[in-house]
């Protein structure tokens, strides 16, 4: 026992210089991200149609009567009866804060999803949508809004009479399922005595192109401007109108995906050594690759279900984090869990309040537009700065 601790101390002493530095970079990244989230969140709760002063808004956020009220949390997280609270608290806690939480969950999901896909395909340019998820989801969104809009599904329930489902209420689920199905199609196309990263990406591009064409074609059959706008909001990603219901929808999947990504980070590290090395180390590469892709697709689908197809976050967040902490996936995944929400919350501030600040119009734009506007130039900057791009 004594020799063991002695050994460890010797080793950790050797490591202090190097690991101390990296831990510091990871910690500072996380702290900075939390700072951005808190700041963005406070901006989000302070401004909006119902005007209140900063102090009032912050008091409402830190209203101990809500924070320590189990009934309130029960209402938020499990959808129970909302207890009474004053109007400001209601607006902050029931309208503005949940949107921030949804942004955090979406950012988290997209970031880890992108990180996983970048390791699975061994390609830095991979995003959560590289294996056809976005095109499958986008197509199903269009099909639902344009083709199935008039229909409704009546589910007879024995005791409660009947339960009517309309396609639009099922849209989040349909979109996610469409994404997952597209992913499975891509995998099936790529499979030939096993897969390879290149074949997977190619199959993803092919399926994406076909689905994209179908999706664009369907726009011609949309006769209502409202339908088109709604479709665009879904396919570019928007957090408008999200509340606790979306948190409830995404939270279980997020918890699962985050847990799986953390557990799988060592497998991801070994995958990065290349297929042959991973194989010779005794990894069942095909199984691990499919399982991890599945986790990444679930995470992407969860974010699609609540926010539509938000581009760029899943691509650039792993990049940003890798730039700071290096390519070790144990650190990378943790970094993504913090940086993803930071980017998403900050972008949503722009999406929700940007128009009113810039042109004074009281309009919101889809958050996906902001992430693209912020993400594109940042990606360009990275590309110019880095010597080798595209390699992990």
């Amino acid at each position: 026992m004594a020799s063991e601790t002695q050994q460890r101390r010797k080793r950790s002493e050797q490591n202090t210089g190097y690991f101390g530095f990296v831990d510091a970079s990871l910690v500072s990244l996380c702290v900075a991200s939390v700072g951005v989230v808190v700041l963005g969140g406070l901006v989000q709760v302070s401004f909006g149609a119902f005007s209140m002063t900063l102090v009032e808004a912050w008091q409402a956020v830190f209203n101990t009567q809500v924070i320590f009220d189990l009934d309130a949390w029960n209402a938020f997280v499990f959808g129970g009866e909302l207890p009474e609270m004053n109007k400001r608290s209601l607006i902050v806690w029931n309208i503005r804060l949940p949107r921030v939480f949804v942004a955090m969950l979406v950012g988290m999901n997209l970031a880890i999803s992108g990180a996983i896909f970048q390791a699975v395909t061994r390609n830095e340019l991979a995003s959560p949508f590289i294996l056809g998820v976005s095109s499958g989801a986008g197509l199903m969104i269009l099909v639902t809004l344009v083709v199935l809009a008039g229909m409704s599904l009546t589910v007879p329930l024995l005791l409660f009479g009947e339960f009517v489902l309309t396609p639009s209420s099922l849209l989040p689920v349909i979109a996610s399922v469409g994404g997952i199905v597209a992913f499975l199609v891509v995998y099936a196309i790529a499979w030939k005595n096993g897969t390879s990263p290149v074949r997977l990406v190619l199959a993803g591009v092919i399926v994406g192109t076909i689905f994209q064409s179908l999706q664009t074609g369907l726009f011609f059959f949309a006769d209502d401007l409202g339908v088109v706008q709604s479709a665009i909001a879904w396919t570019t990603g928007s957090l408008t109108g999200t509340d606790w219901e979306q948190v409830r929808m995404a939270l279980p999947w997020t918890i699962f995906a985050v847990g799986a990504a953390l557990v799988g980070s060592r497998q991801l590290n070994v995958l990065l050594l290349g297929e042959r090395t991973a194989n010779s180390l005794g990894m069942n590469v095909e199984r691990v690759r499919f399982a991890l892709s599945g986790v990444a697709v679930l995470a992407a689908a969860a974010s699609i279900a609540v926010a539509g197809i938000v581009g760029f976050v899943g691509l650039i967040v792993p990049h940003m984090v890798r730039n700071v902490v290096g390519s070790d996936y144990k650190k990378l995944v943790v970094g993504c869990l913090f940086a993803g929400p930071a980017l998403m919350v900050a972008a949503d501030v722009g999406a929700r309040l940007g128009m009113s600040v810039l042109v004074g119009a009281d309009a919101q734009i889809p958050v996906g537009i902001v992430t693209g506007l912020v993400g594109g130039p940042y990606f360009l900057y990275l590309m110019r700065k880095q010597e080798a791009m595209g390699e992990i």
Binding site: E4, Q7, R8, R11, Q14, N15, G17, Y18, N193, V263, R266, N269, V270, L272, L273, G274, R276, T277, N279, S280, L281, G282, M283, N284, G326, S327, D328, A388, E391, I392
Partner: protein, 313 residues
């Protein structure tokens, strides 16, 4: 570092029974004999954990081939010895090595590790017994030598298990043995090709297998690092009784270093045995298409003086 045949002498009686018999693709009764010989040896000389790897009736090929690339009736990596695979480009050395490491499913035949088919092993169980270092390995840029070595512990760890003291010790030993202690915290992207190769070797050493297969580990390395790699493998074999199978481009290096040579030509075993017996001028002409003289009296093993490339015929 070269293994001269002094230790081969005390295994002399085995050499006659074992290698002599297996020098050519051997009929079944002789094969039996050779296995007995090796079993007797591993009881006497080699450490108990030395393992042998045998390929039987192998037909190897890739999905795009119509004909098998390698056909080989019987190939042995004797327990506790170093066996070098030599042959010209495209003779099937790497393919054979891959299938011996269970990375390539044979069309026919099978590979047997200590009496058990490698196919029947669970992937991680096999990776604890048999390590493979492929050619052209690429690591993520910011990974350190130590990180890489820890990956060698992958087959020893369960899905949820964290690093144990055994892992730490194995990594320390591997880094020490590979002689990369001073590079321990360096990132791979900052190392030279030779240093990188030693780091990869540290990784497969941390795997702590009984058998280690390497595919041209000295390719593209300067002479210093070539010798370093060979010294590491040599001490691994001498001190730890690890059975080594190695594809080498340089026949002279193979002859100095290995206990046995397997010479391959056109996907078949041309000859098999101790370097002094296998490495002849005739072999160099037939297999490598070179005109060369071989000095069998050289103290460091057969020495080759190449003169001219022969017509491919």
């Amino acid at each position: 570092m070269s293994r001269d045949r002094t230790d081969g002498d005390d295994g002399g009686e085995r050499m006659d029974g074992g290698h002599g018999a297996a020098a050519r693709p051997s009929p079944p009764e002789e094969r039996q004999e050779s296995e007995d010989g090796i079993a007797a040896v591993s009881g006497r000389e080699s450490p108990a954990d030395a393992s042998e790897l045998v390929g039987e009736d192998l037909e190897l090929g890739y999905p795009t081939n119509e004909e098998p690339v390698v056909e080989c009736e019987h190939v042995v990596l004797p327990a506790g010895e170093v066996t070098a695979l030599v042959g010209p480009n495209g003779s099937g050395k790497s393919t054979l090595l891959k299938s011996m490491a269970d990375q390539l499913d044979p069309w026919a035949g099978g590979v047997v590790l200590d009496g058990e088919r490698v196919r029947s092993f669970d992937a991680k169980d096999l990776a604890r017994k048999l390590g493979l270092l492929s050619q052209h390995n690429q690591a993520p840029e910011s990974i350190t030598v130590e990180d890489l070595a820890y990956h060698g512990r992958y087959p020893h760890r369960g899905f949820f298990e964290s690093v144990t003291e055994t892992d730490h010790e194995a990594v320390d030993r591997a880094i020490d043995l590979a002689g990369v202690e001073h590079l321990r915290h360096s990132e791979m992207s900052n190392l030279s090709g030779g240093q990188r190769q030693l780091a990869w070797i540290a990784m497969v050493l941390a795997q702590e297998t009984d058998i280690l297969l390497l595919d041209e580990p000295t390719n593209h390395l300067d002479l210093h690092h070539q010798l370093r790699v060979m010294e590491v493998l040599d001490s691994l074999n001498e001190d730890h009784g690890v059975t080594i199978g190695i594809v080498l481009h340089d026949v002279g290096q193979a002859a100095r270093f290995a206990d046995n040579l397997i010479a391959m030509a056109d996907g078949e075993l041309y000859d098999w045995g101790p370097p002094r017996e296998v490495l002849t001028e005739e072999l160099l002409a037939d297999v490598f298409h070179v005109d060369a003289t071989v000095d069998h009296e050289s103290p460091t093993g057969p020495h080759i003086s190449p003169h001219a490339a022969l017509d491919d015929g």
